[in-house]
């Protein structure tokens, strides 16, 4: 379908530098592949459901998360029957956005929604969904008339490939679209007609908990038990698991649970280290996953993992979820003033991707991803200040000579002996020798000095050898950008900053390593430095 192809190409051209791996764009050929994992093989084969597509790798049915960039990173989308766990950022600013994108995608695709929250009334959450951006290629699929023609604004910050800028502008209107993955305008609300046309169920904990229906004790907190019963009820009544003979459902149920694990749900894992209910959340996740595996549903959960006191629970929760995405915003952290990050609002970490029906999974090569919330769009970009280089034969340098306290190892792939390497290690206090040890493994090149930096750098530098500069994170007000600027004045040198490897670990200091190359006369050589995380 032309609309589908457009979606694919627009997704490839807008903003995301992630689109290196070519996830194949959706074709109009719908594979009648096996159903979502867990459902009976002998059941009827699925005809295509609106808003879904089969995975390229194994025919798994996928739904969009509402962010096409995130879909690409997850290998095409969220598989039906799985749980997407979002680890909330510290002040819970960006995770509700992802939550709403997921629900908005469901509304636009015509899926049934189930919204559960202990904090906000689900009706209010649905009022705040972002409005979809639709071009008029999909106009034929709309039933209603279009709302208003948007006058082309010159400062729309959505980056479209140049050939699409000449197309007629976006129009917003009530729609039922069968495309996969839409773009949303975060500054506008979804039209009321769309919300009313959608089929949704809300679970607001304060309302449900007051009803005194006898619940058998099963070591789940009452809130979780009620929620599980509610979900199971909806799945059974509306026929999402195919067990109800009266109802034949061919739609997806999108479940969204907000702030799971927070004290509002009656759980105390965020308050106490070894509470009485320490197994409640993990049991809930287990039973929820059992429910999802046997039905046509997909679930998004946002969880304030930064509040959970017992770190073992976080590890268990991660194992029990299928996809885990962590958000880390820069607000209030030292990175807010770091010039390297001035364009971005935070980092996204894809912590886990499931291997469903397969030995391998589509793990993205790009590990450092940053997001920013522009006026209208939420974009994810790869490799902060990453200058993409051609790659040589990758060869990893072992971490054999780093003492146990090192939290980072940078691997060099393909160092060329003519270039002068400048390593910038940010190391934990008390550990100063990794630079020297690491440097011995390098072949020291010609030591033409140049390097007239005006940047203030703490640490040692070796004159006749590749230089090592130690930055301590809280002193690097200058940062790499200034270094880059001073470098660029030099004609013969080409400074390339490759991206940082960051180690995020609880309780430890966060350090970043910058690898700065100073390439000397021999041009045409490509160095690819791949930094690796030890976590």
């Amino acid at each position: 379908m032309a609309a589908v192809a457009t979606c694919g190409s627009v997704a490839a051209s807008t903003g995301s530098a992630v689109a290196t791996a070519s996830k194949s764009n959706v074709t109009s050929f719908q594979r009648r592949g096996p159903r979502a994992s867990g459902t009976n093989d002998s059941g009827p084969r699925l005809v295509s459901i609106a808003g879904t597509r089969p995975s390229v790798r194994n025919g798994q049915l996928l739904v969009s998360t509402g962010l096409p960039a995130l879909d690409q990173l997850l290998g095409g989308g969220l598989a039906v029957g799985t749980v997407l766990l979002i680890e909330e950022d510290k002040y819970n600013i960006y995770s509700p956005l992802l939550f709403k994108y997921f629900l908005a995608e469901g509304t636009v695709s015509g899926h049934t929604l189930l919204v559960a929250s202990a904090k906000e009334d689900p009706a209010n959450i649905l009022q705040e969904l972002p409005a979809p951006l639709l071009d008029d290629k999909c106009k034929k699929e709309f039933d209603e008339d279009v709302y208003d023609h948007k006058t082309p604004e010159s400062n729309i910050k959505m980056r479209i490939a140049w050939r699409y800028q000449l197309l007629p502008k976006m129009e917003i209107g009530p729609v039922s679209s069968s495309r996969f993955g839409h773009y949303y305008d975060a500054s506008k609300r979804m039209p009321q007609e769309l919300i009313e046309a959608s089929n949704w169920h809300g679970f607001f904990l304060p309302e449900k908990i007051s009803s005194t229906v006898k619940v058998e004790p099963c070591s789940l907190t009452p809130g979780y038990t009620k929620l599980l019963q509610f979900i199971q009820n909806i799945i059974y009544e509306e026929g999402f698991d195919g067990s109800n003979p009266q109802k034949k459902q061919r739609n997806i149920l999108r479940i969204g649970i907000q702030n799971l694990g927070s004290p509002l749900w009656g759980d105390d894992i965020c308050c106490a280290e070894n509470g009485g209910n320490s197994h409640s959340l993990t049991k809930f996740l287990y039973v929820l996953r059992g429910l999802l595996r046997t039905s046509l549903s997909a679930c998004i959960i946002t969880m304030p993992t930064h509040l959970i006191q017992n770190k073992a629970i976080i590890a268990r929760v991660t194992t029990l979820s299928d996809i885990v995405v962590g958000l880390e915003s820069f607000i209030g952290s030292e990175r807010e003033t770091n010039p390297l990050y001035k364009d971005y609002h935070g980092l996204i970490h894809i912590r886990q991707i499931p291997r469903l029906n397969n030995l391998i999974c589509d793990e993205s090569d790009v590990k450092d991803l940053a997001f920013k919330l522009k006026r209208k769009l939420f974009t994810i970009e790869a490799g902060v200040q990453w200058h993409d280089l051609g790659s040589r034969q990758p060869r990893l340098l072992g971490s054999s000579n780093s003492p146990a306290s090192a939290s980072l190892v940078a691997g060099i792939t393909g160092a060329h002996h003519h270039t002068q390497l400048i390593f910038v290690f940010l190391v934990e206090t008390g550990f100063h020798h990794v630079g020297q040890a690491g440097l011995e493994l390098l072949t020291s090149g010609d030591s033409s000095a140049s390097a007239s930096q005006s940047a203030e750098i703490t640490g040692m530098s070796f004159r006749a050898r590749p230089r090592a500069l130690y930055f301590k994170e809280n002193k690097s007000k200058v940062g790499a950008r200034q270094l880059l600027e001073t470098r660029e004045e030099h004609l013969s040198s080409r400074l390339l900053i490759l991206t940082q490897a960051e180690r995020l670990c609880m309780g430890r200091r966060f350090f970043t390593a910058f690898h700065i190359f100073n390439e000397l006369p021999c041009k045409g050589d490509c160095i690819c430095l791949q930094t690796c995380q030890t976590q």
Partner: protein, 266 residues
Amino acid sequence: MFVELNNLLNTTPDTAEQGKLTLLCDAKTDGSFLVHHFLSFYLKANCKVCFVALIQSFSHYSIVGQKLGVSLTMARERGQLVFLEGLKSAVDIVFQAQKEPHPLQFLREANAGNLKPLFEFVREALKPVDSGEAQWTYPVLLVDDLSVLLSLGMGAVAVLDFIHYCRATVCWELKGNMVVLVHDSGDAEDEENDILLNGLSHQSHLILRAEGLATGFCRDVHGQLRILWRRPSQPTVHRDQSFTYQYKIQDKSVSFFAKGMSPAVL
């Protein structure tokens, strides 16, 4: 089963040892490919397999099994495979009161007691059928994975008791094998998990430990496998043997190579 892994372990389906407990352990990576290997290995060796699958559904194993050359549906139909699907049973147990005791009925109870019903289930599944000639060579118990039992409220000691009972029955009495998977939480300070892991490492004959690379993610080398024989069969070798290989998982097989000798690098 992966032929290369068989070569490394020096076994074939026909010549596998009996009465052994194999511990699969994964740290910072996914070790489920080892479970698929052993499942297809023992099915090909014509053993009676009892698979307690707590973490994934039947169709997941079945689809991967087809890639490895075994059909789980057919094995289940002819009685070679007894499959306990944890996810599906959990839904039934929590939402409907069960008449007869279910192996996973501890999910309903507030205070988890012990895993006795689960052990009864295993014993019932693997007990030798008296009728006629012996169809299957020896029984095998596969558990994927034990760390989930800790998440569901069981204590580490209860799980260790369960394994002990199973070992006494399956390995010693019935001369079968056991393969269990435990996650290593690493620095997440999961004490219960550490107790379980250490206790099992002490009891097992063969430990396969899949670890992520210390330097992080790499597209060509997915991880490192450490093989540790606890009680080698030759009496002359007194020390425990340990080998380390790096591996890369492909669509239908896993290729192993010595450390640093990945074909992508050479």
